[in-house]
Amino acid sequence: MMRAILALVSGAIFGAGLALSGMMNPARVRGFLDLFGAWDTTLAFVMGGAMLVMAIAWTVQRRMAAPAIGPSFHLPGTALIDRRLIGGAVLFGIGWGLAGLCPGPAIASLGTALAPAAIFVAAMLAGMGLFRLTDRR
């Protein structure tokens, strides 16, 4: 039960943070990527604020044997840099630049701008499903 509440609360704070920071505005996110045009620096401040808090969280995490709920941490490896990582990041960047949306703001927008968000999220899930169907690993 506590686990469910924490997941919901975390998601809600994340969604409200996206809204406050202006990251639910695709034109603003696109503006950050428009480095050679009308560059909008806001996304850099969002990243800075988020990373500041998370950097503290990581130092706390290193002193903990287990999370508050559950037997152990489930964390991905940090070393592997392969063609999948690079290729995936290239493709993600293309989509991000085309629509001005990444997964978090797109899903959050389902509650506030249903029609465009639903089109993007449906296509995103189709892309995820396509990867799952075609991935040989």
Binding site: R3, A4, A7, S10, G11, A12, I13, F14, G17, L18, A19, L20, S21, G22, M24, N25, A27, D34, G37, T41, A44, F45, G49, A50, M51, M54, Q61, A66, P67, A68, I69, P76, T78, R84, I86, G87, A89, V90, L91, F92, G93, G95, W96, G97, A99, L101, C102, P103, I107, G111, A113, I119, F120, V121, A122, A123, L125, G127, M128, D135
Partner: protein, 147 residues
């Protein structure tokens, strides 16, 4: 608050909203022992991904994202300008969905969580998807389709 030279930027709102995003990711990490990576959690919530976070955690986090935005939007209007044609959304969504699964993360997992952990893997991924996004916008603008 505005920045000299960048009249459209919202640095204070961005920084405060960013801290909320960091707090949300910290709750997932220290509370549940998980990375708050939205692409992975969304994929898991829709049962596209077999492994990863427990399904209830994934679906409730995703529901929370929507709820948080709705609650914020009830207090203050959320400014949002979407692409001018649905084709941008379809093409963008397909690339984002496929790419984030192939590359195992997006702006939240690699960007916020991985970079603050100084993960070389996430630092490379973030540099690459930002460069790719910048190149894409520059190309779209050069072709005369900027919006």
């Amino acid at each position: 608050m505005t920045l000299p030279g960048f009249p459209d930027a919202a640095p204070l709102e961005g920084f405060l909203g960013g801290m909320m995003i960091g707090l949300a990711a910290a709750i997932m990490l220290l509370g549940l022992g998980r990375i708050a990576g939205v692409s992975g959690l969304a994929s898991r919530a829709m049962l596209i991904e077999r492994g990863g976070a427990p399904w209830p955690v994934a679906i409730l986090f995703v529901a929370g994202l929507v709820l948080g935005a709705i609650l914020f939007g009830a207090a203050e209007p959320i400014e949002a300008v979407f692409p001018p044609h649905w084709a941008w959304l379809v093409a963008g969504g397909l690339f984002v969905g496929y790419g984030t699964r192939l590359g195992s993360g997006c702006t939240s997992g690699h960007g916020v969580c991985g970079m603050s952990r100084l993960s070389p893997r996430s630092l490379v991924a973030t540099a690459v998807f930002m460069a790719s996004g910048i190149a894409t916008v520059a190309l779209v603008n050069a072709l005369g389709y900027g919006w």
